[in-house]
């Protein structure tokens, strides 16, 4: 532990715990890197708590967002009452620039969103297991995987200035023409029309990494979409093992899954249901699922995706079907079943409540899908892949853009490959402009103005690029134009043109 890398630290703590002297460690629910000495952990939490208390004096409704020091940035996010996440990032001298506070908070928000998707809220876990062990083991099972995902070479990928034209936590939709949209609708209707133990409550259809359709409300959709993009889409599933059999799964499972000593009863108690008694029969050891573990999803021969990240059943014969918690819609627990055909991924959610206690509805569902829907799904994939414009489908020549609709959490942006062609100067300027706007916007939210926030900004950078921002209500458009000779007027015109064509004229001046 001589050279502990502390360039990124993540800490989650509960201010309502460990109130008495000597009990401070009880506050800590998670700390990354976990090898950090307790003194360092306590010192960070001490600072965090101190500042939170301090800022509450002046800003009781919005305690600390960020502490900035010479060497580090501490970004705060309070996902649940009394529960705080602090992300500490060491500043690098060479770049000098840090990601926007909002963007960093979006990481924390996303981490928490995904966490609750799989485990329920931290508070619920704590209530069910006051010692905090379950919450800690869940966080421990989840967050290191997440962190490794958002980090690239010891650095949060987000800190690269390229993130200026991306918006974490939003959905990117695939553009469909009308008849395709109807076809999608009919498939979804078909899937959801089945009753019985395999009844599908919600669906989420993706083509590659683009969302085709979903029946989920925006927030849940965003979380599930994020997860699907991270682990379920064709590009993300494990390729190492074509036609994996469950046997292999099992052998792997035993060797590689984390065995965290949380008893089954704890987990399910947090979830709900079964009595502690009946679970103690089989497994003394229970998997705390690691939903984000890499290479844990395979495509089975029949097109269904399987994973052992949630462990295997009592007999060791089949993997346990993952479950998710929907936060926004029903606070319900759902089984997650995914079917994939070529580029098309269908995520289906079955309500646990409607299943017989020990029945795994997924078998029924599998059969139904294979029998009644696979043809339709295959045809749909065919049609979508014809309609798909390629990875540069969203490219608009001459523009690098990001358009976000925060109402539906949908965003549309230039393809990453095209964004990468921008100069660093432009991206840094964009980042700067965005962070200013974040602050101004935050202020506007706070003041609760009835009028929708409206803003138009055009900035000509030192290197002659134009950075344009248009905001109207919850719709935001960011543009970078690198045509050196443009004047303000021409830029404004170009923006107007773009808005008319690609944003339904939402930002039209009149």
């Amino acid at each position: 532990m001589s050279e502990l890398d502390t360039s990124v630290q993540l800490c989650i703590f509960d201010t309502s715990r460990g109130q008495s002297d000597g009990q401070e460690l009880d506050k800590i629910l998670f700390f990354y890197p976990s090898e950090s000495p307790f003194s360092a952990q306590l010192s960070l939490i001490g600072l965090g708590e101190g500042i939170i208390t301090f800022t509450k004096m002046f800003s009781p409704n919005a305690p600390c967002d960020i502490i900035d020091t010479e060497k580090r940035s501490h970004v705060f996010f309070q996902p649940e009452p009394d529960i705080w996440m602090i992300l500490v990032i060491e500043k690098r001298k060479e770049s000098g620039e840090l990601g926007r506070t909002r963007a960093l908070q979006a990481i924390l928000m996303e981490a928490h969103g995904l966490f609750t998707l799989f485990y329920g809220s931290i508070r619920a876990l704590l209530l069910n297991s006051p010692s905090g062990d379950v919450a800690r083991s869940c966080l421990q099972a989840f967050l290191p995987d997440y962190i490794s995902d958002v980090m690239t070479v010891k650095r949060l990928s987000m800190l690269s200035s390229h993130s200026g034209l991306q918006e974490r936590g939003t959905i990117q939709m695939m553009a469909l023409d009308r008849s395709t949209a109807l076809e999608v609708q009919s498939v979804v209707d078909l899937l959801q029309s089945w009753f019985g133990s395999g009844r599908i409550h919600h669906t989420l259809l993706l083509f590659q990494d683009l969302l085709v359709s979903t029946t989920l409300p925006p927030e849940d959709a965003a979380h599930l979409y994020t997860y699907a993009r991270m682990r379920l889409i064709p590009a993300a599933i494990s390729t190492s093992s074509g036609g994996h059999s469950l046997k292999k799964v099992l052998s792997r499972a035993n060797s590689s899954s984390v065995h965290l000593k949380a008893s089954a009863s704890d987990i399910t108690a947090a979830g709900q249901r079964p009595s502690p008694a009946d679970s103690s029969n089989h497994h003394s050891q229970f998997f705390t699922p690691r939903p984000l573990q890499h290479d844990k999803w395979w495509r089975d021969n029949d097109g269904f995706l399987v994973t052992d990240a949630w462990g295997v059943d009592a007999q060791g014969m089949s993997a346990i079907t993952p479950t998710v918690w929907l936060q926004q819609s029903s606070q319900e627990r759902m089984k997650l079943v995914a079917y994939q055909h070529k580029q098309l991924t269908v995520v289906m959610l079955i309500s646990v409540m409607h299943l017989a206690p020990n029945a795994d509805g997924s078998h029924v569902l599998r059969n139904q899908v294979l029998e009644k829907a696979s043809n339709k799904l295959n045809a749909l994939e065919d049609r979508l892949s014809k309609e798909w414009g390629g990875i540069n489908a969203n490219h608009v020549p001459g523009y690098r853009y990001l358009y976000v609709d925060y109402d539906s959490r949908v965003s549309k942006a230039s393809p990453a490959g095209k964004i990468a062609t921008l100069t660093k100067d432009s991206l840094l300027s964009l980042d700067k402009v965005r962070s200013e706007i974040d602050i101004a916007k935050g202020r506007c939210d706070g003041s609760g103005e009835a009028q929708p926030y409206e803003l138009e900004t055009c900035v000509r950078t030192r290197s002659n690029a134009w950075v344009v921002v248009r905001i109207r209500g919850n719709h935001e458009l960011y543009l970078v134009l690198e045509r050196a000779s443009e004047t303000l007027l021409l830029t404004a015109e170009a923006t107007e043109k773009f808005s008319r064509r690609h944003c339904d004229g939402i930002f039209a001046s009149d």
Partner: protein, 707 residues
């Protein structure tokens, strides 16, 4: 430390006493008045008396309003301060001695080493001890002369007056004696004392400043005011006996009269202030707080210190904390910590600069040698040394929301015809000698002309801080003063001496020298300059320009209006009428919806801004635009890859355009509905026009000040 401070304070203390007594006994105040009137009659130009009398009058006149009384008295104090300032040509004591004093103070105060105090204390506070005065005077006859002579060359008269005063109010003696006091240690003690009193009085001034400059600081702490008199009186008592006891007593109830003085960090109203500023020592001792009583805020200051040192212990340094609307910005300047807590949404860059200026103002009063005090004694209490300067800080902070210089780091000039400005420059050049470092002719914060010794250039921030220091001190207005100051950007380590005299209510002459004995010489210089300006009618031109006001966007046509050749017929009074006409076309502003603009000439470090006119007449609108400019400017310059060239911003309030080139920077505000194309045309036209008028709008060619 200004050496003069002690004396100021003492004078102040006199005033205080006066004040104190006033509420209680009208008779006394009358008596005062009489004395002063008499004095005035005798002395004519003697500024001190006149102030006092003013004060008295005010006291009497506004007996209903306690605040008024306080304010006035405070002013009087200020004036007194001014007086004392010049009185203190600081014969023997250079800055070093000052430091020594400080040190001695330190030791005395912090160590609780009362012996020193005692020994010193013996002499001054004794009420009614005229002898002490006499003695002191004997010690430093020259000093005494200087004081009174400056007002009126008759020493004896001054003395008489003083004595009279003394007899009326015993305490006032202290002040006087301190003025005469040469011995470092003694004076230091006196300073402490006076600081106490000053604190009381000064607190009120900002808010009630009769000049209306600080009008925006509207709230007046009535409660504190009402008790003011008594408080200060008590304090004096405390001082008398308190010196013997402990420095701690002195600190108690130091600045009771400040605005929102009754508040502290536990009161809701205190927390709701939009913008707090704190200065504290690295040991956590409060030095200054914009709102509330520093003493009561000791716990809060300790919290701030704890946060900063917590981070420092981790080998790091805290920059800022943001939480929702609020930003807490920290700045460490050696042993001095500066903190602002604001919900004004100003950019970080701007807030940091404001803290930096606040620190500069502190240095202007005390020099960087204050750091030595902390080296000697980490627990050193700086507040006594700043007694009476609260107003300087509050006026500075206020200027952060109206004076463009605060974020442009440039100064602005009074519009004046080229010939008139040249004549003014010539007048300043005329008195060149090797002892003179800078000569400035200011109209409020606007520069009329300035000259500097070879190789010495005056930084715009120094001009800003100096003009704030001078204009926030009433005392300078009515007397000629000689005050030790420090120009932090020029040399933050040493004291310089500023001869300050208002040639008329709008025109202030400041002559800065290294020589602490130069008062009389500079007095002569001033007479020459004044004479010259009078003869050449430059003074009249200046007054006309002041009355005329700055540029108005309504009057900026295609460039055919020449500022000098066709001076607008407006005077101060007219301007008011004109607003009526403007109101007829309210909301129109200039052509193409131009509401306001600022043009900054990069190589001259100067800017010119139009007057706020029709749609921007309310204080809120002005402040909103000011802040918008501020963040626009910060945005342009805050880019990591170099300043942006141009920025256009439209929101519900304005269209803002910023344009930055290597030669100039231009900021303009338009009606939010203004069209891009026409506003760009107007911007180009205005820039061209300003360039054409450069000679009248800017002070040009003075840069290599030679003599």
């Amino acid at each position: 430390m200004r050496e003069s401070d002690p004396s100021d304070k003492e004078l102040n203390s006199e005033n205080n006493d006066l004040q104190t007594e006033n509420p209680g006994s009208q008779d006394v105040s009358f008596a005062y008045q009489q004395t002063f009137d008499a004095k005035q009659a005798d002395d004519g130009p003697c500024s001190l008396p006149s102030h006092l009398s003013e004060k008295e009058l005010d006291n009497n006149g506004s007996s209903t309003c306690d605040n008024g009384v306080n304010i006035e008295s405070a002013d009087a104090q200020r004036e007194a301060t001014g007086l004392t300032t010049f009185e203190f040509p600081v014969p023997e004591e250079g800055p070093q001695t000052y430091v020594k004093k400080v040190k001695s103070e330190l030791e005395g105060a912090s160590d609780g080493n009362q012996t020193e105090y005692n020994s010193d204390g013996i002499e001054e506070p004794d009420p009614g001890d005229t002898n002490a005065n006499a003695e002191h005077r004997e010690c430093s006859p020259r000093v005494a002369n200087a004081q009174f002579n400056s007002q009126d060359k008759s020493d004896p008269k001054g003395n008489e007056i003083l004595e009279q005063r003394d007899t009326v109010v015993n305490r006032s003696l202290t002040a006087f004696s301190s003025t005469c006091n040469i011995e470092p240690v003694e004076s230091s003690i006196i300073r402490v004392q006076s600081a106490v009193e000053n604190g009381n009085m000064e607190g009120h001034r900002p808010y009630a400043d009769s000049e209306g400059k600080i009008a925006s600081l509207s709230a007046v702490d009535g409660v504190a005011a009402s008790s003011n008199g008594r408080e200060s009186f008590e304090e004096i008592e405390v001082v008398d006996s308190g010196l013997v006891k402990n420095g701690g007593l002195l600190k108690r109830d130091l600045f009771l009269e400040k605005q929102h003085q009754s508040e502290d960090d536990s009161s809701e109203s205190w927390r709701k202030h939009k913008k707090h500023f704190f200065i504290l020592s690295h040991a956590g001792k409060p030095i200054y707080s914009r709102y509330g009583d520093e003493h009561k805020l000791a716990g809060f200051a300790a919290t701030l210190q704890a946060i900063m040192s917590f981070v420092e212990n981790g080998g790091d340094r805290i920059n800022y904390v943001r939480s929702g609307d609020h930003q807490v910005v920290f700045l460490v300047k050696g042993p001095v910590y500066l903190v602002s807590i604001s919900s004004t949404n100003e950019p970080l860059r701007v807030l940091r600069r404001q803290l930096d200026l606040l620190h500069g103002q502190l240095l202007l009063i005390l020099t960087r040698s204050l750091e030595k005090c902390f080296v000697k004694n980490a627990n050193f209490d700086l507040r006594p040394l700043l007694g009476g300067t609260e107003n300087v800080f509050s006026s500075l902070i206020h200027s952060f929301s109206w004076n463009f210089a605060s974020f442009l780091s440039s100064y602005t000039c009074l519009p004046l015809s080229h010939t008139a400005r040249q004549a003014a420059g010539a007048a300043l050049q005329d008195i060149a000698d090797k002892n003179l470092l800078f000569a400035l002719l200011l109209s409020d914060s606007k520069v009329i002309s300035l000259v500097g010794a070879q190789k010495a250039s005056l930084h715009p921030d120094d001009i800003f801080l100096l003009s704030n220091f001078v204009s926030s001190s009433e005392s300078f207005r009515n007397t000629e003063s000689f005050s030790p100051i420090c120009l932090p950007k020029y040399n933050s380590m040493t004291f310089l001496y500023a001869y300050i005299r208002y040639l008329d209510p709008d025109i202030c002459l400041i002559l800065i020298t290294k020589n602490s004995d130069a008062f009389f010489h500079l007095k002569d210089c001033r007479a020459r300059i004044e004479g010259f300006l009078m003869e050449t009618h430059v003074l009249r031109d200046i007054s006309n320009s002041v009355a005329r006001g700055g540029l108005r966007v309504e009057e900026l046509p295609g460039g055919d209006v020449s500022y000098t050749s066709a001076p607008r017929s407006r005077r101060m009074g007219d301007t008011k009428d004109s607003t009526i006409t403007v109101k007829l076309k309210a909301g129109v502003g200039g052509t193409a919806g131009l509401w306001h603009f600022i043009y900054r000439c990069v190589y001259l470090d100067q800017y010119v801004a139009s007057e706020f006119s029709s749609p921007l007449e309310t204080p809120q609108a002005k402040k909103r635009l000011f802040r918008a400019y501020q963040s626009l400017y910060a945005s342009i310059h805050g880019a990591p890859t170099g300043a942006h060239q141009m920025q256009y911003r439209r929101d519900g309030n304005f269209v803002l355009l910023a344009w930055s080139t290597s030669d100039f920077e231009f900021l303009a505000a338009f009606d939010p509905l203004a069209e891009k194309s026409s506003s760009i045309t107007v911007c180009n036209r205005v820039c061209q026009w300003v360039r054409d008028m450069e000679n009248d709008l800017f002070f040009i060619g003075g840069s290599p000040f030679n003599w």
